[in-house]
Symmetry: C2
Subunit: 357 residues, 2 copies
C-alpha cells in the first residue's frame, strides 16, 4: 500500500529498522542521552526562543492539546479560538470541558482568516489564542506571523497546534512569538503514532509552573522536571522515541528543518500540478504544504477513498462528519516521492476511464 | 542485551517483524476488525464476565489508572487503597488529585496482605477497592479471590490493576468479581510500551456511563462508543495495536492464557532455584510470577544493575526511591528462556568471583 493519508505516514527504512529491534530498558543514562538530544533537535527545528523546553508525551496529539489547555489556562482567562474545521472545534470542546471562557472565530471550511476578520477581536481583553496552524481537516494554513503580531499587541498567550504543519510549513516560534507549539510523531516526523510533543517558551514554562491542575498524567510540571534528566514520569513509548531520534538526525543529514519544509512543499506542488485536468476542486483558500484537501465534483469522496484502497493499493485520507462525502485529502508528508504522486494520479485517471469519476 | 526488566520486555520475532512494517492507515474496516479481535481476546484471557468490554488507550498504564479513578469514582465514594509500594502509592495520589475520599492500608515493602488485616476494614462503609495485584515495585502478589470476597460482602466496586500480573499470575475476573482490570502492552503482552488496556465488567460500564467527568482524552464513554466499531476517538498507537494482535494470537497458538501463566511461573521458578547460593534474599512474602524482587546482602543493588548493564550486556530492573540501593528486580515476562536465566546467574557468579558481590 502507498499511504497518502495525514498520519500515520510512510516511514524511512532506517526508522522502520528500529521498529524491528528489541525495545531497550529506559531508566538508563543511555536513554536519557537520547531524550536530551531529542529535546535539543525539537527546539532547534521549531526555532524556539532561548530558554524554551520540550516534553514528549505518550498520547495522541489531542492529549497534548488537552494538557496545554489544562496547564496554561484557567477560569480567569478569556481565550480566542480559531475554528475552521474538526481540530479547531476540538479546541473549543476542550475549553468547554475545562471551563476556560472562550470566544470562537468560526470560519467556513476552507476559508482563510483575514487580517480584517482577526482585528474585529482587537482590544477585547482576550488573554490567549488557540490555533491549529494547519487545520488538517481542510488543509487551511493560518498565518502564524499575523497571529503572533495580534497576540503581541493584545498581550495574549499564543498556542500553536502545529501537529500537521511542523516541518511542513515555514514556522519560526521565536519570530512569531508563540508560547507553545504542539506536534506529533506521525506527521512529518514520519514515525509511528503514539508520541506527541509540546514545546514551551519561557512564558509558557511560567504559566505551567503556576498552574493548579488536577491531573497526574497531564501534569506538565512533572514532565518538565523529569525531562531535565532525559526521563519521563511514566513508562513512555520508548520504541517510538528512539525512532524519533533517528528521524531527527535524518532531517539534519538532509539539510535541516528548512530543507525538509522545502521537500514537503515540492511534494505538494508536484501533486497539485499533476492533478489539474481531473474533476476536482481545491478546498483550501490558503493551502498548507502537508496536505491537499480535494472536493471531487463528479463523484463521492468516500467512494473514491474505498476504491483506491480496495482496487489500487493506495490510501488517501477520507474526511469525517459532514465532510465525508464531499472532501478527501492527499498527504505530502513522510517518505513519499514524486513518482508516488504519479502512481496516484494514474490510478485516478484509470478510475475516470472506468466511469468512476 | 538480554532484558530482565519489568517492561519493556523482550518481544517475539513475529511481534518485532510487525514493528519493521509501515504503519497502515487505521480509519478502515481492516483495522476495525483487528481491534474487535483484540477486544475479544482480552475479554477471553481476563476471563471477564459476560457483557464486559475492553478499551485500548494510547498512554502508559498510569494513564489508565487515572482514567479509571476519574471515570469510576466520585467525591461521594469512600475508597480503600492497598499501598505496599510505588504503585499502590500512585493510586493514593490519584485519589488525592481527583478528591476521591480514601483510606489507605499501608503495608511494609514485601509484606503480604493477610485476611485478618483486611477484615479490620470490614463493615466500614467503603464503596470501592483499588489494588495493584502485582505490586511491581516489590513483587508482592495480592490474593484477588480473597479481596473479591471482601468486596462482595461489603458491596464495593473492585478495581484490579493487573499491569504486571495479567497472564503472569492466575486471574479470573468473573470468579473474583472484579469490576475493572487494567494492563499494559509492555508486560506479558511483550509488545513495545505505549498502549494500556482497561477491561470493564457490566457494573463498571454502568459507573462509566453515569460519570460526570471533565476530560476529553480519558473519557471512557467516548472510548467505549468508538470501540463498538473497532475504532478509537483519537489516533492511537496503531503499530503497537497490530503487534498486540499478533501476540494475542501467539498466546492462543501456545495454548491460551493458562499456558502462558504456567510458562511465566516456570521461568520464575527456574530463576529462583538457580539463584540460591548467591548472597541474596527474596523481598516478597507472596511472590508474583512476573518478577522477583531481590535484596543483595553484600552489595549495593543499583551498582549490581550498572555492572550487569555495562559489563555483561544484561538489564535487570533497578528500583527507585528509598529502595534504590537495597532492592533490584528480575523479570520473568516476555521472550526469555531458562537459558537466559543461566546466563544471568553465571554473570552474577562471575561478579561474586571478582569480589563485586
Amino acid at each position: 500500500m502507498i499511504n497518502f493519508t495525514v498520519g500515520p505516514v510512510m516511514s524511512s527504512d532506517a526508522v522502520r529498522a528500529i521498529g524491528a529491534e528489541q525495545v531497550p530498558y529506559f531508566r538508563t543514562a543511555e536513554f536519557s542521552a537520547v531524550m536530551i538530544e531529542n529535546e535539543k533537535y525539537l527546539l532547534e527545528y521549531a526555532k524556539a526562543p532561548r530558554g524554551s523546553r520540550a516534553v514528549f508525551m505518550t498520547c495522541s496529539s489531542t492529549g497534548s492539546m488537552e494538557a496545554v489547555v489544562m496547564n496554561c489556562f484557567s477560569r480567569e482567562d478569556k481565550v480566542l479560538v480559531i475554528n475552521g474545521g474538526s481540530f479547531g472545534h476540538r479546541f473549543v470542546e476542550l475549553c468547554d470541558i475545562h471551563e476556560i471562557p472562550c470566544v470562537v472565530i468560526e470560519l467556513e471550511h476552507g476559508k482563510k482568516l483575514t487580517k480584517e476578520k482577526l482585528y474585529e477581536y482587537d482590544n477585547k481583553a482576550f488573554t490567549g489564542l488557540l490555533v491549529n496552524v494547519d487545520e488538517t481537516s481542510t488543509a487551511v494554513l493560518y498565518d502564524t506571523m499575523m497571529l503572533g503580531e495580534f497576540c503581541k499587541k493584545n498581550n495574549m498567550f499564543y498556542v500553536c497546534d502545529c501537529v500537521s504543519s511542523f516541518l511542513a510549513d515555514p514556522y519560526n516560534m521565536a519570530a512569531c512569538g508563540a508560547d507553545v507549539m504542539i506536534t506529533g510523531s506521525q506527521k512529518v516526523l514520519a514515525c509511528p503514532p503514539g508520541i506527541s510533543i509540546i514545546v514551551l517558551a519561557p512564558k509558557a514554562l511560567e504559566r505551567v509552573q503556576n498552574s493548579k491542575i488536577r491531573t497526574m498524567y497531564f501534569d506538565l510540571n512533572n514532565a518538565l522536571k523529569n525531562q531535565e534528566r532525559g526521563q519521563t514520569p511514566f513508562t513512555p513509548a520508548v520504541g517510538i522515541l528512539l525512532q524519533i531520534n533517528e528521524r531527527l538526525k535524518e532531517i539534519e543529514h538532509n539539510g535541516g528543518a528548512d530543507a525538509e519544509v522545502a521537500r514537503v512543499a515540492a511534494q505538494a506542488a508536484d501533486f497539485r500540478e499533476k492533478i489539474s485536468g481531473l474533476p476536482f476542486e481545491f478546498v483550501s483558500e490558503s493551502p498548507a504544504n502537508g496536505v491537499t484537501a480535494v472536493h471531487p465534483t463528479t463523484a463521492n469522496a468516500y467512494d473514491i477513498f474505498l476504491t483506491l484502497k480496495d482496487e489500487y493499493g493506495i490510501w488517501i485520507c477520507p474526511n469525517g462528519g459532514d465532510m465525508k462525502d464531499t472532501i478527501f485529502r492527499v498527504g505530502h508528508m513522510g517518505a513519499l516521492t514524486h513518482e508516488d504522486n504519479t502512481t496516484l494520479i494514474n490510478a485516478l485517471k484509470d478510475m475516470q476511464k472506468r466511469g468512476l469519476l
